[in-house]
């Protein structure tokens, strides 16, 4: 039986019950990131945060906002926009919840300038697998009090706890912000030149067909460079499934060349090192991963049907022993998305 408890304490109670009964649960926010990880790690029963969608505190002058984990990202954006502010991670997708994008560490497209999503989480409240409500971090824009559990929770895919509350760092909305595109297959060389010439662009994204550029700043600085036209942000690569490859930004050009040779659809974030790749088959996933690994990177199946997720993570990351202990500490009965993470955690 799946549930959407109306309060955090009821979320915690449900988890405590599930732990006592040993019945696995899958936390769910907007449900936009549910095709990730080992397929066995998604129990049919889910625990939804849909009703935990309140605004808890917002002091615009502090540039911080505290919301419940189930708050839709779109609503958060609207609330912030009313005060001339924004959360740079909103590229995350329609219907996604704040807790969900945090749990899946889904950074926005403008990461080159605004940083990854993990840098914007200041305080978190999680309901652990055994139903404790744990607060970590602090609501101020800066703080080093105690261990950085907010970073641990970011990208833990609901396997350590359910994010029921988050305090986020917001940014003042820049005076001007615009995406541009320049069609043409010579994107790589041009993109690298942009990265050198422009001071802190929002994004430089290369696809097989075009170069996409986002500029952010004063109106005088947000002007289309030669050959670029105003446009929407790039679309997600085409393909039934999505792999996120990541290598050092210095080696991204090599990855792009390899993907070009494979004739795959991709969107590579220059200066960041990540590259979303559209794929159709296990064979293609393997190819992408081989190239990423050869360049000292990794490739994770980010969104794919179960049959393409036999090996979603690739080789086991270092520190598995520590990760297992963390799992055991936060979810002792192993009821939260069991086996979803690398190493079957």
């Amino acid at each position: 039986m799946s549930e959407a408890p109306p309060s955090r304490s009821e979320v915690a109670e449900k988890l405590a019950e599930a732990s006592a009964a040993g019945s696995p649960l899958s936390p769910r926010g907007g449900g936009t990131h549910s095709r990730v990880g080992h397929p066995g790690g998604r129990p049919a029963e889910f625990l939804s945060t849909a009703r935990l969608d309140g605004l808890i505190d917002y002091t615009p002058q502090d540039l911080t906002i505290t919301v419940e984990g189930g708050m839709p990202v779109d609503r958060l954006s609207d609330i912030a926009a009313d005060q001339g502010q924004f959360w740079p991670q909103v590229g995350a997708g329609n219907g996604a919840s704040v807790g969900g994008v945090l749990a899946s560490a889904a950074s926005g497209l403008s990461r080159l300038r605004f940083g990854p999503i993990r840098d914007s989480l200041l305080q978190v409240v999680v309901a652990t697998g055994d139903g404790r409500l744990v607060t970590a971090g602090g609501r101020t824009v800066k703080g080093v009090s105690g261990y950085d559990l907010p970073r641990l929770m970011t990208g833990s895919f609901g396997s350590l706890g359910v994010i029921v509350e988050a305090t986020l760092k917001l940014w003042p909305r820049p005076p001007a912000r615009q995406w541009y595109v320049r069609p043409g297959a010579d994107a790589l060389a041009g993109g690298r030149a942009l990265l050198r010439e422009l001071y802190r662009p929002g994004a430089v994204i290369v696809t097989p067909e075009a170069t996409h550029l986002e500029l952010v700043g004063q109106p005088e600085d947000v002007v289309a460079p030669q050959g670029f036209l105003p446009a929407d942000p790039p679309d997600r690569p085409t393909g039934d499934a999505l792999v996120r490859a990541a290598v050092s930004p210095a080696r991204l050009p090599e990855l792009i060349q390899a993907l070009g040779a494979l004739e795959l659809s991709f969107a590579a974030q220059l200066g960041v090192g990540t590259c979303a790749v559209g794929v159709e088959s296990a064979h293609q996933i393997q190819k992408v991963r081989e190239h990423a690994l050869a360049l000292a990177g990794h490739a994770v199946v980010e969104d794919a049907p179960a049959e393409l997720r036999r090996d979603p993570w690739g080789p086991p990351p270092p520190g598995l022993r520590i990760m297992r202990r963390l799992k055991a500490a936060f979810d002792p009965a192993g009821v939260l998305n069991p086996g979803l993470m690398p190493g079957g955690i």
């Binding site: 002091t59 950074s107 101020t140 800066k142 005088e220 990541a246 930004p249 990177g297 990760m323 190493g343």
Partner: protein, 481 residues
């Protein structure tokens, strides 16, 4: 677990390192019994490994002998994190001080933990790059110590603290295993152990290599000094600038007592009659600078700034920053000792908390000076005192506790950038409940189940697995409460 005094084990460590890199002479050990805080501990032995493998072997030896290990960088920490207690063995990483690799294309640099913060920026300046986090101690503190305390600095307002600039870490865990966490390739699969390890204060592992993100130098910089007749006006200006949508590169505040001390020390032409000054720096493209500087000027004047001095050239800019960064040194002219606090409050509460700190100083008849990262609400009330005056030291502790309580009362946090260490561990329960502290203890135990690394730091007594059976008496007198 029982922890033996390390001094008796010198011979065992000499099996691993050259004799002169195992220090047991009492006078030398005493040098390692302190850090930049006012705490003094007891150091059993000091070892100076020069390679990662030597670090591993030293940790394994300590583990075999059941010795508590205290990692140490430059010893400038202000929370007692590097202070050994009960004759623990100090593993100094200071000799691992090579810059291993610079990759301008990322841009990033791989460095050993003993490399000094400022040396990284110096080594890459010819590439138009720098390492952004700039603690005032940057000429002395090590990058390993920065990672362990998640250090901040004036320019972290716009650029973010250490955690945002650490791409990867190599770390030796308590059982002597080497972990490579992260690197220039973003978002490795699995839990973010690298993120958790930053700020671990030497309790999660010994950092033996760091891959730091480098930052491009801004095309232009403008530094401004605004002075005010009241602290309230200065603090209101800080809030006004942020509320108007500008997050400057840095925004620092110094009150009058601090100005007077600094001016006597540096001679930067600070207005010593002002109640407070704000040092604001904006950087970026010419258009950005023009817009943001105009806004800073306007907001400042609206709140009664008497003058807005713009640094005319790089020399003047350096002089203003020198004034800010020598503040702690300047205090030596006021009193022989100082106790520096590090709470953060929401920016909207700056005015009220600063007033309260003034009241606390008055109530306890103490000199409290303020120099701090105003832009992010990170206060550094500095209590000047003379440690030979026992009565005064008592008042220093009482006032310090009240300052912390005042900050917590408005939703602040215990530490912005210095860490918890020994100094604030028993205050942790002001910010966190029992359940929260248990979860933190669990995270720590996942790295160090036996409680070998820097025991007694960060978490209050009684909250950890494998906790060392040490009596409270082992805390040196004068250790924080």
């Amino acid at each position: 677990m029982p922890i033996a005094p390390a001094t008796a084990s010198a011979a065992r460590f000499r099996e691993l390192l050259d004799p002169e890199r195992v220090i047991e002479h009492p006078l030398e050990r005493k040098l390692y019994a302190r850090d930049g805080s006012i705490t003094e501990g007891k150091c059993g032995l000091v070892v100076l490994p020069e390679t990662r493998d030597e670090v591993c072997r030293c940790v394994q030896m300590a583990s075999e002998l059941r010795l508590a290990v205290v990692p140490r960088g430059s010893g400038t920490g202000l929370a007692g994190g590097a202070v050994p207690l009960d004759d623990a063995v100090v593993i100094s990483l200071a000799r691992m001080n090579r810059i291993l690799d610079i990759e301008p294309e990322v841009p990033c640099a791989s460095v050993e933990p003993g490399v000094l913060n400022l040396d990284i920026s110096m080594a890459v300046s010819h590439l138009g790059l720098h390492y952004a986090p700039d603690p005032s101690s940057q000429a002395a503190c090590s990058i390993g110590g920065n990672v362990a305390t998640n250090s901040g600095g004036p320019h972290c307002l716009a650029y973010g603290v250490t955690a945002q600039h650490v791409l990867g870490l190599e770390m030796v865990t308590a059982d002597g295993e080497v972990l490579e966490l992260g690197g220039p390739a973003p978002d490795p699969p699995g839990f973010d152990l690298r993120g958790l390890a930053v700020g671990g204060e030497g309790t999660l592992g010994l950092v033996t290599k760091v891959c730091v993100r480098l930052t491009r130098n801004p095309p232009e910089v403008r530094t401004m000094l605004l002075d005010f007749d009241s602290v309230t006006a200065g603090a209101a200006t800080v809030g006004g600038i942020i509320a108007a949508g500008v997050v400057p590169a840095a925004m620092e505040m110094m009150d009058q007592k601090m100005n007077v001390a600094v001016e006597a020390f540096v001679g930067a032409g600070l207005p010593v009659d002002a109640a407070t000054v704000l040092l604001v720096e904006v950087d970026g493209t010419p258009a950005q600078i023009a817009a943001e500087a105009a806004l800073v000027d306007a907001v400042g004047r609206k709140h009664g700034a008497r003058e807005v001095r713009v640094a005319a050239d790089e020399a003047e800019r350096q002089l203003l920053w020198k004034a800010r960064k020598s503040a702690f040194g300047a205090v030596a002219r006021v009193a022989p000792n100082y106790y520096l606090h590090d709470c953060v409050v929401p920016r909207t509460h700056l005015v009220g908390v600063l007033e309260e700190i003034g009241n606390i100083a008055e109530r306890h008849d103490l000199v409290i000076m303020n120099v701090f990262h105003a832009g992010d609400g990170n206060l550094h009330p500095l209590i000047a005192f003379d440690r030979r005056d026992v009565k005064q030291v008592e008042r220093v502790h009482a006032a310090g506790k009240e300052i912390i309580e005042a900050c917590m009362a408005v939703g602040g946090v215990l530490s912005g950038e210095h860490g918890i260490g020994l100094e604030k561990r028993d205050f942790m329960s002001l910010q966190f409940g029992e359940v929260d502290l248990r979860a933190q203890a669990d995270a720590r135990c996942a790295f160090d189940p036996e409680g070998l690394l820097n025991p007694l730091k960060v978490l209050p007594a009684g909250s950890r697995c494998g906790e060392v059976a040490l009596s409270r008496d082992s805390l040196p007198p004068g250790t924080w409460l």
